[in-house]
């Protein structure tokens, strides 16, 4: 699938570029919400700035952008809002950055989460990517810094990676705008439902943990039928995540159903 996208776009980059209108800050009445997540130092902000035309600066420190930046663009007549989440190594710890990122992906209900990764250290970045795939079914992996990877003789089997993760994988070099159009297209396909993701799910190796998770997610499913990420919610409950506990207590968790309209106004 991702190969197809790439193939299509090699023939029509100019066409796509013409279809991108950067909206800068303050988009209104958007069709889709896009979240940008990723490790620090992966060029997430460069992707964000490329999409929106803004000049967001984040240093190469975790903790630098505690609040999230927002911007917008129009692509093929659809209006998108992009939310740049703080760069984190994980979503399972208790720092403020991670809470912001985690809660947005879960409660903010982005239509697509773009996972920006550093192609030169994929293994490290996959830790976060796999965690995100636990929460959301709609994601695109942007394999950024491909130029650095080429320079360092790192070859990545894009097709196999996409198959393993079950989501589109787009190789890119955001700094030189390489792969940005393909990324926009992949986002569109996932957002509109043309591409259906089959995200990879983690299987825990501990029997005790598996038992606990299946028991709790069973209870969750019984109470909140249709909850798309019961395993993740169960796992967060076992970590004592306050926002999840609150969402269960108030019943708000029930509104996170998978079958909502994709073009629902926000």
């Amino acid at each position: 699938m991702s190969q197809n996208i790439k193939h299509d776009c090699e023939n029509c980059p100019v066409h796509n570029k013409a279809n991108l209108v950067r909206l800068g800050i303050n988009p209104e009445n958007v069709d889709f919400i896009i979240a940008l997540a990723g490790n620090p130092n992966t060029g997430k902000s460069t992707v964000f700035n490329n999409f929106t035309g803004l000049k967001q600066h984040t240093g190469n420190w975790p903790g630098k952008t505690v609040s999230r930046a927002e911007g917008g663009y129009i692509f093929n007549d659809k209006k998108y809002k992009v939310v740049d989440l703080p760069g984190t190594y994980s979503l399972l710890s208790t720092s403020t950055d991670e809470e912001v990122a985690r809660n947005f992906i879960l409660f903010g209900q982005p239509d697509v989460t773009v996972i920006v990764t550093d192609a030169t250290r994929l293994e490290r970045n996959l830790n976060l990517a796999l965690q995100i795939l636990e929460i959301t079914d709609r994601a695109v992996l942007c394999l950024n810094l491909m130029d650095e990877a080429r320079r360092n003789n790192i070859k990545i089997d894009i097709r196999a990676l996409s198959r393993e993760l079950g989501i589109p994988v787009i190789p890119a070099s955001a700094r030189s705008r390489e792969g940005m159009d393909e990324l926009l297209l992949a986002i569109e396909e996932v957002a509109s439902g043309k591409y259906v993701c089959r995200p990879h799910k983690i299987k825990s190796k501990s029997a005790g943990l598996n038992h606990a998770i299946s028991e709790i997610s069973g209870q969750l499913m019984a109470h909140f039928p249709g909850l798309p990420n019961a395993t993740w919610v169960a796992m967060r409950l076992l970590e004592g995540d306050s926002s999840i506990i609150e969402a269960i207590r108030s019943g708000h968790l029930g509104s996170l159903s998978p079958d909502r309209e994709v073009t629902q106004p926000v």
């Binding site: 710890s93 208790t94 720092s95 030169t120 293994e123 306050s242």
Partner: protein
């Protein structure tokens, strides 16, 4: 008044002396814990309330461990006179928090839930000290003993929420829930184990303090695997964290363990990351439970999990943090932390970039 008896001193010298005195006073006044400000604060805390709460805690502890308790043991545990102890018990009974039959003291339901609330505050505060402040482990208990009588319920719950509603304190004890739930006591005392038994330390008794401190010196901590190699009436020999530790039965009775059901292999003694020289590589074998909370999570997020290859690449100009290459990134880690990261299979790495 003229300072005639020290005529050698000129005015500036007197000023300096007075100044020094003033500075010392200032330091004393603001010294945390024992200074003037702290003294003023301690007068305002309710000593009677603290005493009652401590007694409730003790009664609950007896109940949880299925041990009888009376006024004498209470007096001994709280380091108070027998009269004071019987006064305290009288107050508890009159408040409907405890009952007494044949000198045996027990808690009423109200008393139990009160005790659980105090214990919750105590253990959450210990958890907080252990994970977020860097206060030395020998100070957690005393500090929490002081704070437990002063925290409001709201601030405790706020703290608990921030830490992810912890369910274990750093000694391995379960923290009661807001509703006062607590799991059953499943552990056995280390002193009851036989040769060849294996277990996981779940609790180090933190009273009496001297014994606890000594156990800490032996290097024991909650979450540590132990393997009993030899039992005689005089001593119990265990292998803990790869080191041999010899305990007297009394010391061993201060340690609670969960005996393993599965036959897990004993962890051999590992090298630690601090021993890795620049130019050497190794495989991560695990992180010691000494690194807890955020520290531990951060290290794991950075890729320090069993099986990962680490390579020491650079040493800081001042010698201490060493930069380790982990999954394609250089991570600086202090020696004090690297010492708690276990490694195996140390190899000398051929640095290709020098070629």
């Amino acid at each position: 008044m003229k300072l005639l008896f020290i005529p050698m001193l000129s005015a500036p010298a007197i000023n300096i002396l007075l100044g020094l005195l003033f500075v010392l006073l200032l330091i004393w006044f603001f010294w945390p814990g024992r200074g003037g400000l702290a003294l003023m604060g301690s007068f305002s805390t309710n000593r009677k309330k603290a005493m009652l709460e401590d007694a409730l805690k003790y009664l609950f502890d007896c109940e949880y461990r299925n041990q009888p308790c009376d006024i004498n043991s209470l007096a001994g545990n709280l380091h108070i006179s027998g009269d004071k102890a019987s006064d305290t018990v009288q107050s508890l009974i009159s408040m409907g928090l405890a009952t007494s039959s044949n000198h045996d003291l027990s808690l009423t339901d109200t008393g139990r839930s009160y005790a659980l609330r105090v214990i919750r505050v105590h253990r959450i505060w210990e958890k907080y000290l252990a994970e977020e402040t860097g206060v030395a482990s020998t100070h957690w208990h005393t500090e929490a003993d002081r704070v437990e009588h002063m925290m409001t319920e709201d601030s405790v719950e706020e703290l608990a929420a921030r830490m992810g509603h912890p369910v274990f304190d750093p000694h391995g004890d379960p923290i009661p829930t807001v509703l006062g739930e607590l799991p059953d006591n499943k552990g056995v005392l280390l002193s009851s184990l036989k040769e060849g038994d294996m277990g996981l330390i779940t609790h180090l008794e933190d009273e009496p303090r001297a014994i606890y401190d000594q156990l800490v010196v032996f290097g024991l901590y909650a979450g540590m695997q132990v393997y009993v190699t030899d039992v005689t009436p005089q001593k119990i020999t265990i292998v803990a964290g790869g080191d041999e530790v010899i305990l007297t039965p009394f010391f061993a009775s201060q340690v609670t363990v969960n005996v393993f059901s599965e036959n897990e292999p004993v962890r051999e003694k590992h090298n630690n990351l601090a021993l890795l020289q620049v130019g050497q590589s190794a495989e991560v074998a695990g992180i010691s439970p000494h690194l807890r909370g955020q520290q531990r999570r951060r290290l794991m997020d950075l890729g320090i999990v069993p099986g990962t290859e680490v390579r020491a690449v650079i040493r800081s100009a001042s010698g201490d943090p060493v930069g380790y290459r982990i999954m394609g990134t250089t991570i600086g880690i202090r020696k004090s932390q690297a010492e708690h990261i276990y490694i195996k299979n140390i190899r000398t790495y051929e640095p290709e970039y020098q070629a």
